[in-house]
């Protein structure tokens, strides 16, 4: 009964990011999409991301490329395409969207 969490806002929305991160349980996955992918380039938030136990991190590659962040990723996240986003949605019991 794990959850795929998606988040689409930049980490400057600290209230949203803190709510999201504190709701993630071991076994869950976090997929950063749209402006959410900016988190992958900011050390303040990536440190928190890396400290979460047994949580898989994903970035939507179209959004990383759009924003020019391909060479700036500072976290152990996997880049995925839209098709893999669908697969992840199937692998987890539900999808919760943070926006």
């Amino acid at each position: 009964m794990t959850t795929l969490h998606t988040i689409n806002k930049a980490p400057s929305d600290t209230s949203l990011w803190q709510s999201c991160l504190s709701a993630i349980l071991p076994g869950d996955a976090l997929l950063m999409i749209e402006n959410g992918v900016y988190a992958a380039s900011q050390t303040s938030i990536t440190r928190q991301l890396q400290s979460m136990h047994d949580v898989s991190l994903y970035l939507l590659s179209a959004d990383i490329e759009a924003r020019g962040l391909t060479d700036q990723i500072r976290t152990d996240a996997t880049l995925i395409d839209d098709q893999q986003f669908v697969e992840l949605s199937c692998q987890h019991a539900k999808v919760v969207s943070w926006f």
Binding site: N8, I33, E34, N35, A62, D82, Q83, F85, V86, E87, S89, C90, K94, V95, S97, W98, F99
Partner: protein
């Protein structure tokens, strides 16, 4: 698997309606089923046939219209959210005594019950937010 999609972001002031489009397209390409797409909040403007973006820019209305027609998708626009925002089809225009209308098939106006029903029927309900 059976998916339904809830779209809540602004049609012209957020990326979400396009993200939802790409996701829905990928669900279909992956061989899964789309039970319903539900447009709520500011996303209802995506149903407007009057949208006229510059030729070299994204036409989000056209993308959804084409996808829905190709795959016979059930794309529902929340009627309360739509009427408040000035999105109405011919029948509603008549009911509200308006001289014109700005949405039509494949976009259907219906109530929030369609969202609850989608939540019940579908294996996954995925939201694309504001």
């Amino acid at each position: 698997m059976i998916f339904s999609i809830l779209i809540y972001g602004s049609a012209h002031n957020s990326q979400s309606v396009h993200s939802a489009y790409r996701f829905t397209d990928s669900v279909l390409r992956s061989g899964h089923q789309i039970h319903r797409v539900f447009f709520y909040g500011e996303s209802v403007h995506a149903a407007s046939i009057l949208s006229a973006p510059p030729r070299d820019e994204l036409n989000i209305h056209q993308l959804w219209k084409d996808l829905a027609e190709t795959h016979q998708l059930d794309i529902v626009v929340c009627i309360a959210a739509a009427l408040k925002r000035g999105v109405m089809n011919e029948a509603e225009a008549r009911r509200h005594e308006k001289a014109s209308f700005n949405t039509q098939a494949p976009f259907e106006l219906s109530g929030l019950g369609q969202l609850s029903e989608a939540a019940i029927i579908s294996d996954r309900l995925v939201t694309f937010g504001a």
